[in-house]
Amino acid sequence: MKTLLGIGGSEDSLRALEEAVTRAKEAGDDLTIAIVENPDASLSQSEVETRAGEVLSETGVEADIRTLTGHPGSQLLELAERGSYDRIVLGGGETSPLGKVQLGSIAEFVLLNARTTVTLIR
C-alpha cells in the first residue's frame, strides 16, 4: 500500500509516526512521511524531521521524508493526489484532561476534504 503519513509534531502525530512506521515494516507499505506546519505543536518542523529520521533508523524502514509549507491540510491533500497515494494516515486526536477525544484541525480538514481513505491512529 502506498501510504502518506502526515505529522506536525503534536503528541498524537508522534504516536502515529511510531505506529505507521511499525506497520510499514510489517506490511511492506511504501511510506512517505510529510512534515506539516502545526502552529499548536511544541516541536518545530526540523525537530519533527529529526524524530522521524530516528524512528526510521531504529526500525530499519526506508521512507521518503518531505517537509510541506503552507496550509497543512490542503498541502497534504495536494501531495496525496499528486502522488496517487492509497491512504493518508494521521494522529487520531489529543485527549482532554477529562478524557474526551479532541480531533486536531488538520485531521478535520483532511477528513472532510480527502478523496483518499484516511486512517486516524488511536
Partner: protein
C-alpha cells in the same frame, strides 16, 4: 492558545446539597461526591453507549474503572444526582494545566429530558464557585443540540471556530 471567557458570571448558582422534583414527578437529590468510585461504576455500567461523547464514558467495566480512577487522581470535583438509592446523573469539573476546569455531565437515558441536567449542572457550578473555581470550559459535539442548549442556558458561551467539537466557556467568579 488562549481561551476567551465571558465577562459575566454564570448564575451564580446555589451549591448542593439540594433536592428538586423533575418533570416526571421524581424526587431528585443533588449532592457533592467524594466517597469513592463505586456509585459511579454502577451508573456508568448502566449507561447507554449511544449517549457517549468523544470517547467517554468508556464502554467496558475495566476501562470505566480506569477512567474514574484518573478523575479521582486529577482531584476532580464530582456532583451526583440521586433518585432514591440510584445514582442517575454525574457532573464533574476536572482541573487543567492552566488553572481552569473542564466540565462534563452525563445523565442516564431514562432520566433525560426531565430537567435533571439543568438541576445537576447548576449544582456543579454552585459547588465550583463555593470552591473558588473561576473559569470553566467544555467541548461538545456540534450536532448535540440538547447539550449545547443546556450549556447556553446556564451561562456557557461558544469560544471558537468551525471544528467538529464546539468549545464553550463560562466564568464562575468575577475577573480579579
Amino acid at each position: 492558545m488562549t481561551r476567551e471567557y465571558p465577562d459575566d458570571v454564570a448564575g451564580p448558582y446555589e451549591a448542593p446539597p439540594y433536592e428538586f422534583e423533575d418533570r416526571e414527578g421524581r424526587l431528585i437529590e443533588v449532592e457533592r461526591h467524594d466517597a469513592g468510585i463505586e456509585p459511579l461504576m454502577e451508573m456508568y455500567c448502566a449507561f447507554d453507549p449511544e449517549d457517549r461523547a468523544q470517547g467517554i464514558p468508556p464502554t467496558n467495566e475495566e476501562q470505566i474503572r480506569t477512567w474514574l480512577e484518573t478523575l479521582v487522581e486529577a482531584d476532580a470535583l464530582n456532583v451526583i444526582a440521586w433518585h432514591g438509592e440510584d445514582p442517575i446523573g454525574h457532573a464533574m469539573l476536572v482541573p487543567d494545566d492552566d488553572g481552569s476546569f473542564e466540565l462534563a455531565i452525563f445523565v442516564l437515558k431514562e432520566y433525560q429530558n426531565a430537567g435533571i441536567g439543568t438541576g445537576l449542572i447548576e449544582g456543579l457550578l454552585g459547588a465550583g464557585r463555593e470552591d473558588g473555581v473561576e473559569r470553566v470550559w467544555l467541548s461538545v459535539e456540534r450536532w448535540n443540540k440538547p447539550a449545547t442548549a443546556l450549556y447556553r442556558k446556564v451561562g456557557f458561551r461558544p469560544t471558537d471556530d468551525g471544528s467538529f467539537e464546539l468549545e464553550m466557556s463560562a466564568r464562575l467568579t468575577p475577573e480579579a
